[in-house]
Subunit: 366 residues, 2 copies
């Protein structure tokens, strides 16, 4: 087996141990037990054939005194809350606590060009022929081939073997643009919100859709952080997962926030976001009652936030992702602050995030 980009890609994994305890504590429903068991990172055993040569960055999201067991033979670094405080100092508050949003600290400390991030309840999926899917290989294919955000290709990814641009596709657009983000999907448990989980508790995703496509320019999408890869150089400073978890009024919008911000910035910078293959096997539905509590403000706030992002234009003077992100922070402060004081704090968090990014990535920022 080949291991593409093995020296250029980090795998970022948030551990959700304390989160699991928190969920169990706060949701003493009959179902909670199913979600509250404390796991270690044994999910890596199943990924070993695919991940072992890669470097892992593990972010421990709760009690720093807990010891996380990591299967032997993996090359990793691990950061807990104390490490984040030590490294980021007065910017550390911008990294969420007791929430998988803390994974973005891993994006910041990585020194590699590419990131793949995955949740620890995601396992190896199989294609319709029964073959285990090499998730990294497909993400890397997606990231290394261009995107086509300016015109839709009806046969999907035109760079894939056996496919091309169809009749009527402008030739001037066939070179495409660099790909910043590769958003993979999930078989088994679909990524539903709490109300949909409650209404359709038994729904499972069994449909393997054999395609990758570029999300068109000007179109927003719900980016899920479960199975996601991106190019740090092209979009890294935009991949902040916001303020979630302990002490914050919402949760489960960390990846959505990053998705809205990165899509708007990618559109501005002329780079692409892809979605589709590869699939992972998502094993467990999180507790819908807990999810509802975390999500409910987001569910109505997003009705205002999404039009805000849809109508947002970044200025021509913002020519780097960091500049775009700082401009976006001010727009969030002005444009969303009226919804809740949270958005003012979030705007401050966005600025602190960029300050932290610059501190840890000085060469790129210069």
């Amino acid at each position: 087996m080949a291991f593409p980009l093995v020296d250029q890609l980090d795998i970022v994994i948030p551990t959700i141990r304390s989160g699991a305890i928190l969920r169990w504590t706060l949701a003493p429903s009959p179902r909670a037990g199913a979600f509250g068991s404390i796991r270690n990172l044994e999910f890596l055993e199943e990924w070993r054939p695919f991940f072992q040569p890669y470097h892992l960055i593990i972010i421990q999201d709760g009690d720093p005194t807990r010891k996380i067991d990591i299967p032997a033979g993996f090359d990793y670094e691990i950061y807990n809350r104390n490490d984040i405080e030590r490294i980021l100092g007065d910017k550390a508050w911008a990294i969420s606590f007791k929430d998988s949003a803390c994974r973005c600290f891993g994006f910041m400390v990585s020194k590699k060009k590419y990131i793949f991030t995955i949740d620890d309840d995601c396992f190896v999926a199989k294609d319709p022929q029964g073959k285990p899917i090499n998730v990294l290989e497909q993400h890397i294919k997606n990231l290394l081939s261009p995107s086509t955000p300016f015109f839709f290709n009806t046969l999907y990814d035109p760079y894939r073997e056996g496919t091309d641009f169809v009749r009527g596709y402008p030739f001037s657009l066939r070179e495409g643009v660099p790909t910043a983000t590769s958003h993979g999907l999930w078989l088994n448990i679909p990524d539903y919100d709490a109300p949909t989980q409650m209404v359709k508790p038994k729904e499972r995703n069994t449909r393997f859709v054999d395609s990758v496509m570029t999300i068109p320019k000007g179109t927003l999408y719900p980016m899920c952080g479960m199975n996601l890869a991106f190019d740090r150089e092209l979009i890294g400073p935009g991949m902040y997962f916001g303020l979630m978890g302990e002490g914050q009024p919402i949760g489960r919008y960390d990846d959505m926030w990053a998705g809205w911000c990165t899509k708007v910035i990618c559109d501005h910078m002329g780079v692409g976001c892809k979605t589709g293959l590869p699939y992972v096997w998502h094993s467990k539905a999180s507790n819908p009652f807990v999810n509802l509590r975390k999500e409910y403000k987001g569910i109505f706030w997003q009705e205002e936030i999404i039009p805000f992002f849809q109508n947002l234009t970044l200025s021509k003077t913002s020519t780097t992702v960091e500049e775009c992100y700082l401009e976006l922070a001010e727009k969030v402060r002005k444009g969303l602050g009226h919804i809740d004081p949270y958005f003012t704090k979030l705007a401050d968090g966005m600025i602190a995030w960029i300050e932290g990014w610059r501190m840890l990535n000085p060469a790129k920022s210069a």
Copy 2:
């Protein structure tokens, strides 16, 4: 087998007999023989289990004295050039001659709510389980379920069984909007332009992508007329296939033209365009040398036409498809006339088309 909407849908088929003769005459290459044989509508035999209860509208695109053989047992009406002249009088010039673009006359004379149009070199495809695909049934599903043009759903059509809107999809957008167009795809011979056909003469589409999706608002796509269904009430007057074939400087852009126009109008009217399933089996590649001759002006013109459509805004006072189309005709005259006098004629053709439409569809226009 159920035959949904059997009283509300017409199947429109252009015959390309004279077109085939023309191609054979003008392209005396060694390969031309393969494309020049005169076929009748025997392709209907394979479709009989699916199409027989539906009404067919056949448009004969060349020499009106030729007799077309139609397999027994189908319910049909047929129009040749003489019929078009008789029915449309001084507007008949707007219907292309010796080109499958003439199919849009069938859209105009239909009295039904829905149209399905298919080329006579398209046969029944099979799904990955080997089951023949009921193309009409899938198009009807697409047309009768809503579209979601305002936000991308990463699990594709949210109305399909086993699927829903994913986390982060705004609840206010989950009702969707009515679907105007259902664009189906092709297995075997992909719909490539002449240069791609020449470069990849052996490429075949073998990938069955099991999805239907809405083309997002603001995004154009290359709409192919081979396997297409639409709602006449929602978009019919926009489905003009332009001036192609004999006496015109281009060909093979008839469906592209209709695709650009209908997408812009659908976006303005707040209705949706879907693409994906169902597949047909496209049996024969047309002659790439002949195609190049027909297409080459389109290939460079589209580099200006597509940005024109991408930047086009229809005025709020255009509240019906007919009004939108007339406004579009004037924008084409002003915005594209500098490319070639053809576009001035096309703008006149667009107006003549609407006049013809109103003549044949007086109640809807009132």
